[in-house]
């Protein structure tokens, strides 16, 4: 399993042809307390970079972009009652949705953890 990051601070962890998507610890820290998460419908199809979800915090509503193209296979239903999971466990229990990759080749355009850490350090 390997984890990739986007410049918009989403992460995607890929196992087989399924990718789990969440937002980075840096992103949740910037957004502040998450109050609501709007998730896509299972089966919905997205191109790379499409807005698929919305995360509301006390400061702002932010679009979440799909790191790679594909169709939604599962959403994190726990977030409906506990949106704060995105704050407390952004890397694990606060995942947003799972996507079946249409083109694994798109992963090569993303950052690995080391590159992402360097990217955040520059911000």
């Amino acid at each position: 399993m390997s984890r990739y990051f986007t410049k918009e601070h989403e992460w995607i962890e890929v196992a087989g042809d399924i990718g789990t998507v969440g937002i980075s610890d840096y992103a949740q820290g910037q957004l502040g307390d998450i109050t609501f998460v709007e998730l896509p419908a299972v089966g919905a199809e997205f191109k790379q970079g499409d807005a698929a979800a919305v995360v509301d915090s006390v400061k702002a509503a932010s679009d979440i972009y799909v790191p790679v193209a594909g169709s939604i296979t599962e959403i994190n239903a726990a977030l409906e009652d506990q949106p704060e999971l995105v704050n407390t466990a952004p890397d694990a229990g606060g995942w947003l949705f799972r996507v079946k990759l249409a083109d694994a080749g798109e992963l090569s355009g993303l950052m690995d953890e080391t590159a992402y850490k360097a990217y955040v350090a520059e911000l």
Binding site: Q30, D33, T35, F36, D56, V58, K59, A60, E84
Partner: protein, 520 residues
């Protein structure tokens, strides 16, 4: 504000927090700081403050099925109880009549009392849109005079007065653009919105059926012209630009932006919410703009809420004028103002996209705005813009040594000063400064907007404030900035002197309690 007392003596005021713990009152009130219950907790149900005749036992024929099965459980209050309830609540509120209201992009200026006097004149205040037209010719003339002034101030060709607020005006402008494109058989799909635009702009474009695409801001806080040029094409219906923008800056490339958008076959919508900075100085028509709304409740001093509704007239270019919504007030060939309900014999209104509202708009706001315009005159309006910009720059330059001002190097700001939370101690943010301002007796500024600035604080003092008033505000904000930089823990729990301590906004958003229920 007041001259110092020559004797030097003054009674101590305010609530000492240590005293607050020591002294408890039975009522919960603290002298003139009045506590107030919810109205549902005040009046017993079944009580009634009005002397109604007892209801007849039998419902009217045919209405029996509409009888309520359960009691309504409305609180029953007498008139004095009701008046006291709302007056006590109003004393816990803050208003432009109590002090500065520096909400950025809201233009919370003083609402002159002369406006109120004129709006209440029976010929304006007591008329109805459905009364015979010959009895309201004076009202049409007042609407036409307001239109004449707004067209002169903006340098535009035509105006739609019926939109009822800024966002409604934006929608009107976009529907004009849509109608114009469809009339030439060239419907388009995309509206471009720069990052420095108002938040309502993308919502309006989406509501009007367009796909919204962002145009990034430059490091100086202005529209990235190269990115805009690169995105223009046959699918772009138009661009929505806020000028002056939400970074508090004028867009100097506006004429070029209009030119390239027009060359690509699109239209330029300008969000006029920040018109106060340029009224009397810049005519948007000269910048190539096709449509712009004017918030009468901002630039032209009509009340924000409470005292009255908003009003968002839209000025239009020659290209968009034929598509303006009905009804409209227009002067005929002899100069007499007339109401046009449907397209008339001369063809006026023939291509109108439809209606935004049942009648011609917010008459009460038209009379207030016209009063403001006539009492200021052209020279006075120009001074409004100059003083608003001067005041904002005074705030910006007085505080840039203690508050990070991300675009301070981009030159003078327009009518609002923008700061970020950079430089505050670890764990301190914009929200702490905003809450601290409540303790200082000011309404907080706009916070966390625009989004392009981290922890944004957008301060719009308006021309209303005197230098002495600005100095008091600056001293307070300076003190808060210094406390935030030093990590003063007391700031984290502000406000301490408001009717309530800091509210849990996260919990309020996650688990909102929207309906009052009786306990038990």
């Amino acid at each position: 504000m007041n001259a110092p007392n020559p004797s030097g003596w003054r009674p101590s005021i305010g609530i000492d927090s240590s005293e607050e713990i020591a002294v408890k009152t039975a009522s919960g009130d603290r002298g003139l700081a009045l506590e107030e219950s919810l109205i549902f907790e005040l009046g017993a149900t079944g009580k009634c403050g009005v002397d109604f005749d007892p209801p007849s036992a039998e419902p009217l024929p045919g209405l029996a099925k509409f009888l309520r099965a359960a009691p309504l459980d409305l609180p029953g209050l007498t008139e004095p109880e009701t008046v006291r309830h709302y007056t006590r609540l109003s004393r816990q509120n803050y208003a432009i009549d109590l002090g500065p209201f520096p909400l950025g992009s809201c233009t919370m200026k003083h609402n002159p009392r002369l406006n109120e006097k004129v709006a209440r004149m029976p010929g304006f205040g007591d008329i109805h849109p459905l009364q015979p037209r010959r009895t309201v010719s004076g009202a049409y003339e007042a609407i036409a005079q307001l239109a004449d002034w707004l067209l002169a101030l903006t340098g535009m060709a035509s105006i739609a007065l019926s939109p009822k607020a800024g966002a409604h005006g934006e929608l009107c402008g976009l529907l004009c653009i849509r109608a114009a494109l469809e009339a030439r058989g060239d419907p388009r799909e995309v509206v471009l919105v720069p990052e420095s635009a108002h938040g309502t702009n993308p919502a309006t474009a989406a509501f009007a059926g367009y796909r919204v695409e962002n145009i990034p801001a430059t490091p100086e806080g202005r529209v990235d012209l190269a990115a805009l040029k690169a995105r223009l094409g046959p699918d772009v219906a138009g661009v929505m630009i806020t000028n002056p923008n939400t970074c508090g800056l004028f867009e100097p490339d506006m004429k070029i932006i209009s030119q390239v958008v027009h060359e690509a076959g699109g239209f330029v919508y300008c969000d006029g919410a920040n018109f106060n900075a340029i009224v009397g100085r810049v005519r948007p028509g000269d910048l190539g703009i096709d449509a712009m709304h004017i918030n009468l409740h901002k630039t032209f001093s009509t009340p924000h809420g409470g005292g009255g509704p908003g009003s968002g007239p839209v000025v239009l270019s020659v290209a968009l004028a034929p598509f303006a919504p009905l009804p409209m007030v227009r002067r005929d060939a002899t100069g007499v103002a007339r109401l046009i309900e449907e397209s008339d014999a001369t063809g006026t209104g023939h291509d109108s996209f439809g209606r935004m509202a049942a009648f011609h708009g917010q008459m009460g706001m038209f009379t207030r705005a016209l009063t403001y315009i006539l009492s200021h005159g052209a020279d006075g309006l120009r001074q409004v813009a100059e003083d608003a910009v001067l005041n904002a720059n005074y705030v910006l330059r007085s505080l840039e040594d203690v508050l990070d001002a991300p675009f301070a190097a981009s030159g003078p700001c327009m009518h609002e000063a923008l700061f970020s939370d950079f430089g505050l101690a670890e764990g301190f943010s914009t929200i702490d400064i905003a809450k601290g301002l409540i303790d200082e007796g000011f309404h907080p500024m706009t916070v966390y907007f625009p989004l392009v600035v981290h922890g944004a604080m957008l301060v719009e003092p308006t021309e209303t404030e005197s230098k002495a008033g600005l100095d008091r505000f600056i001293a307070s904000l300076r003190s808060l900035a210094e406390r935030g930089r030093a990590g003063d823990e007391a700031l984290k729990s502000a406000p301490h002197f408001a009717p309530r301590r800091r509210l849990d906004e996260t919990q309020a958003a996650r688990k909102p309690v929207l309906v009052w229920k009786a306990e038990g």
